[in-house]
């Protein structure tokens, strides 16, 4: 994941006007806030410039003229305006901030809602980390741009305009002399920032490499110790850390040089004000207050120019972020309801695959001309090697994917004529690595039917064989399962996901059996739960346990995208083909495992 991030840091686009406009369009629903903060920041900037003008008048009309009344008047105005300014500052901070939070909220919501609609294929080819960064950091960058970014720009422009106006009105000749330094400043600032940003990018890259080095060193500490590699490792690490030192130091002192350099350039402007202003003062074209005001206005113009490069860089970043976010928003779900799709009301009846072809990637077919009819209420066991196509059959059945060619029929129709919700809400599925959500056991079982009462939940758990272990927990059904259910064992998670499926009371039941071994008792309970579900329900099981396989009405050996063998257990054993080999091999393994378990814990008799 760190690698993905780091490529993103590298990602800088040219300024893209269309994306920029689309970003700005994000604020449309909140346009009063948007207009409000732009007006407020302009007012604040103008008022700041006017404060400087008031300071000038204190000197010229108060002190130099020796006029107390004028002085008090000006100070009173100044004081009143300080309060007004405070109000404006409150206004723009709250408006800008609020707008930022709203835009963030909207974007996150939009992304999340859209993610729920995207097809499984999207998640198969997109790493979770990538999506996470879109929803978290990229939405932040976009919100920053439409708020503080635009605020900075507006503020900078108003500052420059206001300072220009006041300088021109105090003494236009001197103002023109001061303006001469602007191009120099712009060039110097831009050059500096470019270098500093490049250097910091190196620092960030070094930083992620250093983190990687720490990670590997800790993960591999046993090997390091066993091989006595400590000194050599440190040697290598020091190369990294010294490189980090060099670039970090360089970036830091470049930054430290930036401000003095800008100030030095502005000092020439100050010198010019003194020189030329002094001479002008002699002929009465310039006042003392005017000279002071010029100093202040130079600083006024300085800030925006200084910040310009930084703002531009973050704008570029935000645009790159926005392009990624929009690419997600624009992604079209590959499996979606067709126009006129109907809810079938029930999925009872046979399920049929007709001449189905399927590939995840073009040119790499997984299924070819696949035909299968599953009768209502039948239990089918799918066995065969990994990558043979078992999971694909299940994925097609659940309509997580649709056939590239051919059709799948349910309730007597091509299932693309039905709504996704109509199909998926009637299919119950238990996965190999059962996913639970953080929350209580009760919440997790109820996920199967949200309207279920506590009694329903417990009844489902009893039926699935999960009740006993749940009752043995201190908080029973109110026990927290932890993030992703990681406070429970794999076997327990399976029992809960079975109970969840029982509660959903599906018309078609699909199970991908776990390959990892669980203890004998739990295993027996899981079997019990599965039986409860499979009784008179159309069921398809990717089977790994012999007991499950034996119980199936029909066993399909799937190899290389085809049905290699099909029949009942007895028929297939007699055939002495693929199934016979698979079965005996596995029987041997299961037996060994059960003996080992029995040896380990003599209280339990071996199963099988």
């Amino acid at each position: 994941m760190s690698d993905v991030e780091f490529q993103e840091e590298e990602f800088t686009t040219e300024f893209n006007g269309r994306t920029f406009l689309r970003i700005v369009a994000q604020v449309r629903p909140h346009w009063p806030l948007f207009v409000g903060f732009l007006v407020m920041i302009s007012l604040a900037s103008l008022l700041d410039a006017y404060f400087t003008y008031l300071s000038k008048r204190i000197i010229d009309e108060g002190i130099v003229a020796g006029n107390r009344e004028a002085l008090l008047r000006i100070v009173a105005t100044y004081g009143a305006l300080i309060v007004v300014q405070a109000g404006i500052v409150f206004g723009f901070i709250s408006m800008t901030g609020l707008l930022g939070e709203r835009v963030r909220f909207d974007l996150r919501k939009r992304l999340f809602d859209h993610l729920q609609d995207l097809s499984l294929s999207y998640f198969n080819r997109t790493p979770v980390g990538w999506i996470m960064s879109r929803v978290t950091s990229d939405t932040n960058r976009i919100a920053e741009l439409v708020t503080w970014g635009l605020l900075d720009i507006t503020w900078g422009i108003t500052n420059i305009i206001a300072a220009t106006y006041f300088m021109l009105s105090i003494n236009w000749r001197l103002a023109l002399i001061v303006f001469a330094m602007i191009p120099v400043l712009v060039v110097v600032a831009a050059e500096f920032k470019k270098r500093i940003l490049t250097e910091y990018r190196v620092v960030r890259r070094m930083n992620s490499r250093i983190t990687g080095a720490y990670d590997e060193s800790i993960m591999g500490v046993r090997v390091t110790k066993a091989l006595g590699r400590e000194a050599a490792n440190l040697d290598e690490f020091q190369e990294l850390s010294s490189a980090m030192y060099r670039s970090g130091y360089r970036a830091a002192w470049l930054s430290a040089l930036f401000l003095p350099a800008v100030q030095l350039i502005s000092a020439f402007a100050v010198g010019a004000v003194i020189w030329y202003g002094g001479l002008q003062a002699q002929i009465g074209a310039m006042t003392i207050g005017g000279i002071q005001a010029f100093f202040a206005y130079i600083t006024f113009m300085l800030w925006p120019i200084q910040e310009m490069a930084r703002v531009y860089a973050s704008m570029q970043q935000a645009i790159a972020s926005a392009e990624r976010v929009f690419s997600l928003i624009d992604a079209v779900p590959e499996v979606a309801d067709r126009p006129g799709a109907v809810d079938p009301g029930s999925l009872r009846g046979d399920v049929a695959f007709r001449d189905v072809d399927f590939d995840y990637e073009e040119g790499k077919p997984v299924l070819r001309g696949f035909n299968l009819r599953i009768r209502q209420g039948e239990t089918i066991a799918l066995v065969g090697p990994t990558g043979g196509g078992k999971s694909t059959i299940v994925n097609l059945l659940c309509r997580f994917f649709e056939p590239t060619r051919g059709t799948v029929e349910m309730a007597g129709r091509d299932y693309t004529e039905l709504t996704l919700h109509g199909i998926q809400s009637r299919i119950g599925i238990v996965l190999q690595a059962p996913h639970l959500f953080s929350g209580t056991i009760r919440d997790n079982i109820r996920y199967g039917r949200l309207a279920a009462t506590d009694a329903d939940v417990e009844a489902a758990a009893r039926l699935a064989g999960a009740d006993a272990f749940i009752q043995s927990l201190p908080l029973g059904y109110d026990e927290e399962v932890g993030e992703g259910g990681n406070l429970l064992s794999v076997g327990q998670k399976q029992l809960i996901s079975l109970a969840r499926a029982v509660l959903a009371d599906p018309e078609i039941f699909i199970m991908d059996e776990a390959t990892s071994s669980v203890d004998t008792l739990t295993e027996a309970l899981i079997q019990q739960g599965m039986e409860a579900l499979m009784a008179d329900r159309t069921s398809v099981v990717i089977a790994h346990r012999l007991s499950t396989i034996r119980r199936a009405d029909r066993i399909l050996v799937i190899e290389a995208g085809r049905i290699a063998e099909m029949g009942s257990h007895a028929e297939l054993i007699q055939a002495r083909g693929h199934y016979y080999r698979l079965y005996t091999q596995q029987f041997r393994q299961e037996l060994e495992a059960s003996y080992e378990q029995a040896e380990h814990d003599p209280g339990l008799a071996p199963v099988g």
């Binding site: 499984l120 978290t136 060193s217 000194a231 050599a232 830091a252 040089l257 599925i429 953080s438 060994e592």
Partner: protein, 608 residues
């Protein structure tokens, strides 16, 4: 290979954190003080700017002969800016050097420290925790020196220098100018303290939102299978809304603080202006005095309101310091400590006599991990350890390279107490091949030569790879031996990794070998290849095999059957088989498996 010495940082572990930080700065104290001094000098030259302005207004402006002096004054301003800029730069550069230097030393030390800490420490400390301390906490200290401490210094020095200058101008004015300053400081500290709490709450919610998102993304199949998209959208919406509310709270705090501090600072400033202007009208001070005063006043007041921010940030720096010091406090494994180093290699004669071992930190009530272990392995012999998970097999072999030290009894190598040998020496003499060995994300060649601290020729590497039956696999990769292992390169299977580790160990050529023999999960062809490779490796070395199946122990010179940390049976295969006991039971179980397989097939072939 160069001999690396990293300065010890043990001394920074102190009760008093500030004192610890001071010690951490060893070697940089002078530089850091010079940075502070440079800040002071920069502040003084800024102050001098206003005094030059005063001189210009009062003594030069409007005086006869002004035309000659003005250019000099203008030049003076530029010169002062140059001096100020130079010192500002210097302070930044020196502070950066301190911050980077301290961080570099910490990084190097922590890296070395982590790989030299005991297993006992690594066992109980999560990897993420250690990485965080070595990265984010070190970064926090970097900021402490580079930004926060120096930021506080800058604000304080600006205040002192400019306030002192005000005293010089006019005592009365100087006192009026700071009436509200204590209040500003207090408000600032209070605000930033509260804001940092609100910020933490915000970040907590952000983490929660990410967790919800991640859970949703990894459980995408479950969500789809139960058609729970809307439910998920609501769940995320609730978290999203809470994040919006916390963000808004944070921003409203900012929106309140800045205007309030604006008003406080503004009133203080305006009061100063008024007092100064009145004194100037009275003639108590000159217009030049007033101009200088107005300029200095700004530098006394405005920086103060940021003081709170730096002070609050510094307290988080102190927390990071404690977290880093906590790691540094841990004792390292003394690699070189030991009273006996044989002139040459060891013979490999190992004798356990009533050896016991208990993990430190246990309650003392639980049974020791190993108890009363007695056996002897003569040079070149193969000792097989048989037993279930948790029986103490791994613990026993971990004593040999002194990953853990035995606690009771007597364990000798070539007749000398094992504890007399330095750990580094022992680990050079012992090779370990684990079940799923850790490989580093570098090239295959580098992984093979990882354990030898001498130059190795390509021919030698290839010979080792051939002997380990992995050469053919390596050359089948596009980049051969230069292929990267891991995320950025090829993913090796468990068996392939094991064979790379065998090659690595062959090259290391140890006298004593520890093998974790788990080949049950690989196919027969690979298993044969690994067996051949292992046989080559074991030739002429005292070997300890952690065995999982009877076949791999049958040829051992000595078989130890372990149960709950004790040896329950020992001898050769034939001897053990001759007497009733656990070994025979295990053996019989495995042969019974074959009979049962045959019976099962018969049963299935006759349909019921």
């Amino acid at each position: 290979m160069t001999k690396v010495e990293v300065e010890s940082l043990k001394e920074i572990v102190m009760e008093n954190r500030l004192q610890g930080l001071w010690r951490l700065m060893r070697g940089f104290r002078g530089i850091y003080l010079a940075a502070a001094l440079a800040i002071g000098l920069a502040a003084i030259s800024r102050t001098a700017f206003y005094f030059l302005l005063r001189y210009f207004i009062d003594e030069v402006l409007g005086q006869p002969g002004m035309g000659r002096v003005v250019p000099l004054i203008a030049l003076g301003f530029v010169a002062l800016a140059l001096v100020q800029g130079a010192f500002t730069f210097l302070s930044g550069k020196l502070a950066a050097r301190t911050a980077e230097g301290v961080a570099l030393r910490l990084r190097d030390y922590l890296y070395d420290h982590l790989q030299r800490l005991t297993f006992a420490y690594h066992d109980k400390t999560p990897t993420g925790e250690l990485i965080q301390r070595a990265t984010s906490d070190v970064d926090a200290l970097h900021r402490f020196f580079g930004e926060q401490a120096i930021g506080v210094g800058r604000i304080v020095l600006l205040f002192i220098v400019n306030w002192a200058a005000l005293f010089w101008l006019n005592v009365q004015l100087a006192l009026i100018s700071v009436v509200l300053v204590p209040l500003i400081v207090v408000v600032s500290i209070l605000f930033f303290r509260r804001v940092s709490a609100a910020y933490e709450a915000f970040q907590e919610q952000e983490a929660r939102l990410s967790a919800t998102l991640q859970e949703n993304l990894s459980a995408v199949r479950v969500v789809k299978a139960f058609a729970r998209q809307e439910f998920e959208q609501e769940k995320f919406g609730a978290d999203n809304g809470e994040m919006y509310r916390r963000g808004r709270r944070l921003l409203l705090m900012h929106a309140a603080f800045w205007p309030i501090s604006d008003i406080l600072c503004g009133i203080q400033m305006l009061a100063g202006f008024l007092a100064g202007a009145l004194l100037a009208i009275d003639g108590t001070i000159t217009p030049g005095d007033y101009l200088a005063y107005a300029g200095l006043l700004i530098w006394v007041i405005w920086p103060i309101r940021n003081l709170g921010r730096f002070i609050v940030q510094m307290s988080t720096g102190l927390v990071s310091f404690s977290r880093v010091a906590e790691v540094i406090r841990q004792e390292r494994e003394p690699l070189l400590a030991g009273s006996y180093v044989p002139p040459d290699h060891v013979q490999g004669h190992i004798a356990f006599e009533d050896v016991s071992f208990a993990y430190a930190g246990g309650s003392g009530e639980e049974a020791p991990a190993l108890q009363g272990i007695t056996f002897e392995a003569r040079p070149g012999q193969v000792v097989a350890l048989l037993g279930f998970t948790g029986s103490g097999k791994s613990t026993l072999v971990n004593l040999l390279p002194r990953f853990y030290d035995y606690t009771e009894g007597c364990l000798t190598l070539d007749g000398v107490d094992l504890l007399a040998y330095p750990r580094a020496f022992l680990r050079r003499e012992i090779g370990i091949v684990e079940q799923e060995p850790f490989l580093f994300s570098r090239t295959i060649r580098e992984n093979i030569t990882y354990g030898v601290d001498r130059a190795v020729s390509d021919a030698e590497v290839e010979a080792a790879a051939r002997a380990a039956a992995i050469h053919e696999v390596i050359v089948s990769f596009p980049e051969g031996y230069s292929t990267l292992v891991g995320e950025k390169g090829v993913t090796l299977s468990g068996g392939q990794k094991q064979r790379v580790a065998i090659a690595r160990t062959l090259l290391k050529d140890p006298r004593i070998l520890i093998l974790d023999d788990a080949t049950s999960s690989v196919d027969t062809e690979t298993e044969a290849a690994i067996r051949t490779a292992l046989r080559r490796l074991m030739r002429g070395r005292t070997t300890f095999v952690i065995a999982h199946r009877i076949q791999s122990v049958m040829s051992a010179d000595l078989i130890l059957v372990l149960e709950k940390g004790r040896i329950v049976q020992q001898g050769r295969h034939a001897e053990l088989l001759a007497v009733p006991g656990p070994y025979r039971r295990i053996y019989e179980l495995q042969s019974r498996v074959e009979e049962e397989v045959a019976r099962e097939v018969e049963r299935a072939a006759v349909p019921a």
